[in-house]
């Protein structure tokens, strides 16, 4: 009877991803000292499930590796081991290694064992460094490699098996285990009955026995592999105390009783000395390895895998969907019934039915969009680790606060906002928060705080990244800008403009370039990426008090509210969010600068006019200004008035990408399909205004 397990492998890997997240966040909580018993239990359970699953799917590297982690965690859980900073760091590194192992399991490629072995050695180093004093019932783990030298003189194995009382309740049967063992070699079994209670106190469902088993190599079968024995005990190893020791040739000649005394402790003390040295040696590499690079790489890979993957949807969302589809079906049947024998008397009912249909459709659409909405905690969850690693590396004390983690946004937006967010947080860590001495000298708490805050505002999600660090140095920024020739010395810039300079390409005020940030690439990319998502990023800062970056993003990339406008024979869509107002043109308010550039006086400001038909080179319906309408929009570079022939309806449009089959066109963010099946282009205000500026001079010369 064999079941094809491969079909469950994907599920296991997905679950393990979650398990790893639990592990990581739990470990971080332990590190900050905020953890209670429940956290360490959760961490242990996560490691345990990963190990169990990995064993089932014959992912031996993962199972073996996790086993060591589990042992360490088990000791912590039982209070036998102090939860030290060092141990946590090694465990965190192990989580990274496990991620890599999972990735290679997912891609069906052999894992890179170099790093695995390295970290495994570190783990064992930690495990052995203090466990010599630990009690004997610790699960004794030895690496295959450790035993390899001993293999040739191996006569068999000495197995001490002490089931926990409840083991039988888990459906495991000792008899079966022994039968399996017997198939490996000659078995000498010695049962310890000392724990047996009086007959009247005995619970038949409990196990009171323990065994000392000698498994001697059988002449015919040859040497037995330790892994084979472990495999037999695989299902019970958490419900028992088990030790598997090699049986030496020399000792086999002795009495069986004396073999019991072969002290495992002796062996491990030798190992301890070696490993202690190793552990000390390893302390530095661990700290540097905790650099965010592997973590980031791993997360990037994971993201890649997740992009094509599945999302988890709450049942409540599914239920509401089903409800809505139900209503839709009812409305549909009502309408079709009406169509069967329609008379003008029913026109009112028809109108009502259609209104209901419209409402149903809209609700359905909203619900479907909600499926793609995920809480931003998916994006936030990587930051505790990032902050932990980087603050250690930079010797800063930093506390990370996260607010509004349940704020939902579209999955596609979330995937694309991840990297800019990481960049901003790293920036805050590196440039924002000062080192403890400086902070104390400035009369601040030596622990810096970085706050991530997410909330909804209108059709947007706002994400704030604030720190209580040094703030942006205004004078330095200005000086640098003058140096680079971005600003002339006479210019009197308002503060916001100065702070805005950090988003300029190649602009860095860091005195020293570190490998975390400060090369001056980045902030411009951050802004660019966010702009591509139809959002914006701003900075507010106060010197000495801290800096806040505010990201504004549309909730979804799939749908937008648009104003349909007509220019000549073409229909374009202007996103409603960028429209300030639409008005009829009063020719008196039009002025020209240098004869060509037109500006319109709206109340007390002058806004440039953009003739859309010029920019897009289409045949206009009219060029007479008084026949046109002016749509005042706000783009990247300020306000502008766009001349259109006519305003059509306002409607929600589904955004289709032009890049799928063609390429990006400046001034156009995408396309949509109108009710009549034709394609209409959605205008990208920032791009359009930039385009208009480029076109203007050419006109004046022509």
């Amino acid at each position: 009877m064999s079941i094809d397990l491969s079909q469950f492998k994907q599920t296991f890997l997905e679950e393990s991803d979650e398990g790893l997240d639990v592990l990581e966040s739990g470990l971080l909580a332990l590190d900050s000292g905020t953890a209670d018993d429940e956290v360490i239990h959760a961490v242990f359970r996560a490691a345990h499930s990963i190990k169990g699953g990995a064993g089932t799917f014959s992912l031996t590297e993962i199972a073996g590796f996790t086993h060591i982690m589990e042992t360490l965690l088990d000791e912590m859980r039982d209070g036998r081991r102090e939860i030290s900073n060092e141990a946590i760091n090694v465990l965190l590194t192990s989580v990274d290694v496990l991620r890599e192992l999972m990735d290679s399991a997912r891609d069906d490629v052999p894992p890179q064992m170099g790093r695995v072995n390295e970290v495994q050695a570190q783990l064992e180093g930690v495990l052995n460094s203090a466990s010599a004093s630990g009690s004997d019932d610790t699960l004794q783990i030895q690496n295959g490699a450790d035993n390899s030298t001993a293999d040739d003189e191996l006569a068999g194995w000495l197995i001490k098996f002490h089931p926990h009382e409840h083991m039988l309740r888990t459906g495991n049967d000792t008899v079966r285990i022994f039968k399996e063992l017997a198939s490996l070699g000659d078995l000498e079994n010695c049962a310890d009955l000392s724990a047996l209670p009086e007959f009247e106190h005995m619970d038949p469902e409990l196990s009171y026995l323990s065994w000392t088993i000698q498994l001697k190599n059988n002449k015919q079968q040859g040497a037995t592999d330790k892994a084979a024995i472990e495999e037999i005990f695989e299902w019970v190893e958490d419900d028992c105390e088990l030790s598997i020791e090699p049986l030496r040739l020399s000792s086999t000649s002795n009495e069986a009783a004396s073999q019991d005394d072969v002290p495992p402790a002796e062996q491990s003390t030798v190992a301890v000395q070696a490993n202690e040295q190793e552990a000390v040696d390893n302390v530095t590499p661990i700290a540097t390895k905790a650099d965010a690079k592997p973590a980031l790489k791993a997360s990037a890979k994971k993201k890649k895998a997740a992009e094509g993957g599945s999302i988890r949807v709450g049942t409540d969302k599914i239920d509401s969907l089903i409800n809505m589809v139900g209503e839709l079906v009812i409305t549909q049947s009502m309408l079709s019934q009406m169509g069967d024998d329609f008379s003008m008397k029913k026109i009112e009912a028809l109108r009502e039915g259609l209104a209901q249909l419209e409402r149903n459709t809209r609700e359905l659409q909203e619900s479907v969009m909600r499926i793609r909405m995920l809480p931003i905690s998916f994006s936030f969850q990587r930051f505790p680790r990032l902050v932990h690693d980087l603050s250690q590396k930079m010797n800063k004390k930093i506390e990370l606060k996260m607010v509004g983690e349940q704020t939902e946004l579209d999955k596609t937006v979330m995937e694309k906002i991840g990297d800019p967010l990481v960049h901003l947080v790293r920036n805050s860590l590196d440039h924002g928060i000062e080192d403890p001495q400086t902070r104390l000298a400035a009369g601040k708490n030596e622990v810096g705080t970085i706050t991530l805050n997410a909330y909804h505002q209108g059709g947007f999600i706002m994400i704030e990244i604030s720190d209580d660090g040094a703030g942006l140095p205004k004078d330095k920024l200005l000086q640098k800008a003058i140096e680079k020739g971005l600003v002339s010395e006479q210019e009197n810039l308002p503060d916001e403009k100065i702070y805005d300079l950090i988003f300029h390409p190649g602009f860095s005020t860091a005195d020293q370039v570190s490998d975390i940030s400060g090369r001056g690439v980045g902030m411009d990319v951050v802004r660019k990426n966010i702009k591509e998502l139809g959002g914006n990023v701003d900075v507010t800062t106060e010197e000495g008090r801290g800096t806040t970056f505010t990201i504004r993003l549309p909730l979804t990339l799939a749908i937008l509210d648009g104003q349909l406008v007509k220019v000549g024979n073409e229909t374009y869509i202007i996103p409603l969010v960028s429209i300030i107002e639409s008005l009829e043109i009063e020719t008196d308010n039009i002025n020209t600068i240098a004869g060509t550039a037109e500006v319109y006086k709206m109340r007390d400001e002058y806004i440039p006019l953009v003739r859309l038909y010029d920019v897009f080179d289409v045949v206009p319906g009219t060029t007479r200004l008084q026949d046109c309408l002016l749509v005042v929009v706000e783009g990247d570079g300020g306000k502008a008035g766009i001349l259109v022939d006519d305003l059509l309806s306002q409607q929600q449009v589904v955004i289709k990408s032009l890049e799928t089959n063609y390429k990006r066109i400046q001034g156009v963010s995408g396309a949509t399909i109108l009710g009549d099946g034709t394609v209409a282009l959605i205008l990208d205000m920032s791009g359009l205004l930039t385009l208009a500026k480029e076109i203007e001079p050419a006109q004046s010369y022509g």
Binding site: L658, Y662, I665, A671
Partner: protein, 170 residues
């Protein structure tokens, strides 16, 4: 008699591993052939939505069951004299393999002609050519019914760097 031979030849080609099916179309009196497996569908000509600031041969985009598909006028692409679109004018919707991702694009041609089985050994390499349809887009020449047919490399045509450069320069 020759008919029978033709049919037998075609049948042989059909079962022959060394042959592939090609769709031929007419453009300004010349016949071109493209790999039929790349053809998604053939549509009648309909109004397109023009894209601003694109080369003139990029006629615009159409809605193909919810997908936005760009349409290239092949006459304009090869700088052939333009004609008014008539009843035989069709859009051949093609799958184009690109370096980054595959795309769906349409080409406007005067008319579709036929489907032929072409053996590999019947395809002759194209001689060095000047002009608008240069060697990059032509994989070879063959003869069908005593007429020359140009085998066209769709990917090279649609991905040609020229298309990108022209976009930038406009």
């Amino acid at each position: 008699m020759s008919d029978i031979q033709d049919i037998v030849g075609e049948l042989n080609a059909l079962t022959d591993e060394n042959a592939e099916q090609y769709l031929t179309f007419i453009l300004a009196g010349e016949e071109y052939a493209i790999d039929i497996l790349r053809v998604q569908e053939i549509k009648g000509w309909n109004k397109v939505t023009t894209l601003p600031r694109t080369p003139d041969y990029l006629q615009g985009v159409i809605n193909l069951r919810g997908t936005i598909v760009p349409i290239v006028d092949l006459r304009k692409r090869f700088k052939l004299p333009e004609i008014d679109y008539g009843p035989t004018t069709v859009v051949i919707v093609l799958k184009v393999f690109g370096e980054e991702h595959d795309r769906i694009m349409g080409i406007i041609v005067d008319a579709v002609s036929d489907v032929h089985n072409l053996k590999y050994d019947s395809i002759r390499p194209a001689p060095e050519m000047k002009g608008n349809a240069d060697n990059r887009f032509v994989t070879g020449l063959t003869t069908i019914n005593n007429k020359m047919v140009v085998l066209m490399d769709i990917d090279a045509l649609m991905n040609s760097a020229e298309m990108e450069i022209e976009l930038e320069s406009i």
